[in-house]
């Protein structure tokens, strides 16, 4: 799903410093935040929305479509399972460094309750001009503006740069999907590609990948079937193998996760791959022109 301004959003960890800062930013931008969670402040109000002890309690009082977690790593599993049991459709998990065994349990709970998890370790999702959920600078008009390009990124900072490059070149974004820098994520680049392919407002897609794992190879399989142009950039060409490059998911081990294989898989199905992000708008124009011709 793509978040819209009609979607009702719950903020888990709403009263903390970051929860407060970003909830306010989301509200100011147009996101419909309807409730928050903090077990110690249940029954109070924060940023003009009611605070509940848990997501399940909040869902009893008010319909919730999306939950976003400002929750530290060791408490993330319990909060995620709570959100899944509350029946949200989408759970945006920003937390980095959640123990992998907990992440597996979170994904199991999501599968059992038909919840789409975005992340962990995502910067969130943005629908420019409507709303955003997470920690992206949606409100910065130099970076995001409404348009027709869907953007998928494993990294929040790279996704910001690429969105900026698009805006600087006269494009805008239909939706930004931060899929997350962790190895075990709920919504993969391939899943996001499928979502944007089905979105009527999206005319072309930019895929920002990274070394490590096989998300880009898997996305390439789907891109092969798409009629919308897809342009990719893969970070980490200059990174040495065998080192975790900041993200737990960004590591080349043996032949797996290497830059060359990802680029080859994408190019083999007709995806243009940029050497630097500033080439992306140029390749997009070419792709859209080819399609129009």
């Amino acid at each position: 799903m793509i978040v819209r301004k009609e979607h009702k959003v719950l903020v888990q960890g709403i009263t903390g410093k970051q929860g407060t800062f970003w909830t306010k930013a989301m509200q100011d931008y147009g996101t419909s935040v309807v409730a928050g969670v903090n077990p110690r402040k249940a029954g109070t109000e924060h940023l003009e929305v009611p605070v509940y002890a848990c997501a399940v309690d909040a869902a009893r009082d008010t319909p919730i479509d999306v939950s976003v977690m400002f929750i530290p790593p060791m408490a993330a599993k319990a909060a995620a399972i709570d959100a899944c049991e509350a029946g949200v459709k989408m759970l945006v998990c920003l937390t980095e460094h959640i123990p992998a065994h907990d992440v597996m349990e979170m994904h199991a709970a999501a599968a059992a309750n038909a919840v789409r998890i975005v992340g962990p370790n995502t910067a969130g999702v943005v629908t420019p001009g409507e709303c955003f959920v997470g920690i992206m600078p949606a409100f910065n008009a130099n970076v995001f503006r409404p348009g027709e390009i869907g953007v998928i990124s494993r990294s929040g900072s790279l996704g910001t740069l690429v969105s900026l490059n698009l805006t600087q070149s006269g494009f805008g974004q239909s939706a930004f999907y931060g899929v997350g820098g962790d190895p075990m994520i709920g919504t993969t680049s391939r899943d996001a590609l499928e979502i944007l392919d089905a979105d009527a407002r999206t005319k072309a897609v930019v895929l920002c990948g990274e070394i490590g794992g096989s998300a880009e190879e898997s996305a390439a399989e789907y891109a092969a079937e798409m009629s919308k142009p897809v342009v990719a950039f893969i970070a980490g060409r200059a990174s040495p193998p065998g080192k975790k490059m900041g993200h737990a998911g960004a590591i080349v081990s043996g032949s797996s996760g290497a830059y060359g294989a990802k680029r080859a898989a994408l190019e083999a199905v007709g995806v243009s791959v940029a050497d630097v992000p500033s080439q992306i708008p140029v390749l997009l124009k070419e792709g859209l022109d080819r399609k129009a011709a």
């Binding site: 123990p99 970076v143 996704g159 200059a238 737990a248 630097v276």
Partner: protein, 377 residues
Amino acid sequence: MNFEEYRAKPLLETCGVAVPASELVWDADAAEVAAARIGKCVVKAQVPTGKRGKAGGIKLAATSEEAKAHAQAILGMEIDGHRVEKLLIEAQVPIAQELYVAVLNDVASKNPLILFSMMGGMDVEEVAETDPEAMRKIPVDITKGFDLSSAQRALEGCGLGEMQAAVADVLVKLYRAYRDRDAELLEINPLVLTDNGQVVALDCKLTIDDSAAPRQAELVEQAAPELMTALELKAHEAGLKYIALGGSVGVLANGAGLTMTSMDAITHYGGEPANFLEIGGEAYTKSKIALSILLENTDIRSLLVNFCGAFARTDVMTEGLVAAWKDLAPDIPIFFTIHGTGEDEAVKIVREELGLEPFDLMDDAVKAAVAAAAEAA
């Protein structure tokens, strides 16, 4: 976190998996004494890498004199970058059959996966590639766990005969250890069946999830120190990730993806990145310590600062960095490109405090940093 064999094996013992008798020694004389006590033994280098056997770091000894000679040869060896400083002197066991077992996090299924093969020993990676049938994959549902009857079913038809129940029991215990200890990988190669009907773990490779460190405190103390340069260690202690890369253009960016992209762009425009160093996420207030670490690398000829703020506020990062820059007054040029959260304030700080104009396009900042580094070389 990785663990040397002598640290990992007691964990197996506590969960009921048999291991041979052994003693840890630090010099050849002690190896001889230990071998005299133990009898026929194996002299094993204790380094956290899987390449010990092939590198000559594991030798059989029939006598204590032989053990001493092997110890003298192995101590001081370098295996996969690790210097051998200690040895495990371990009793030999009468091997009837070598098996392979591993329990690991499977990214594809987002669940645990158990690997089992009747062909244990040194070349198990090759077995997996050349004869995939010989490696049995046993998926586990993390919410259901792995009990004895699941283990029995999984081993059906392997040809273990009357040993199947005993091996199934060990599999269950290994899965339990993997779960209790937040392992990413628990690998036993080989797990052996002995002539007298026992199942014994002859080796143990253990990797614990770094993210689980807060709830595995006792293991953290036992982890093998990571191979790091002095600067990498200094950054690590400050909660930052620094990787030395050997070039002359320093990189300071927020977020892993943007930092890798900055390195890629430097390479694309003909330069060589000096480092990976990111101050994104929770580390965005650490630009001062980050800068001081960068500047300790004497090969740096210019510095690229690439901030694209989402969660990380560029004004906070820039304020800290600019203060540190004035404080340390380094003799190299610095090039900024700043966008995203806090951008206006950050750009103002750079203009007012340093009299510099940040580049609007990352490419222009990269080109300038690469040109300056080339000029200084």
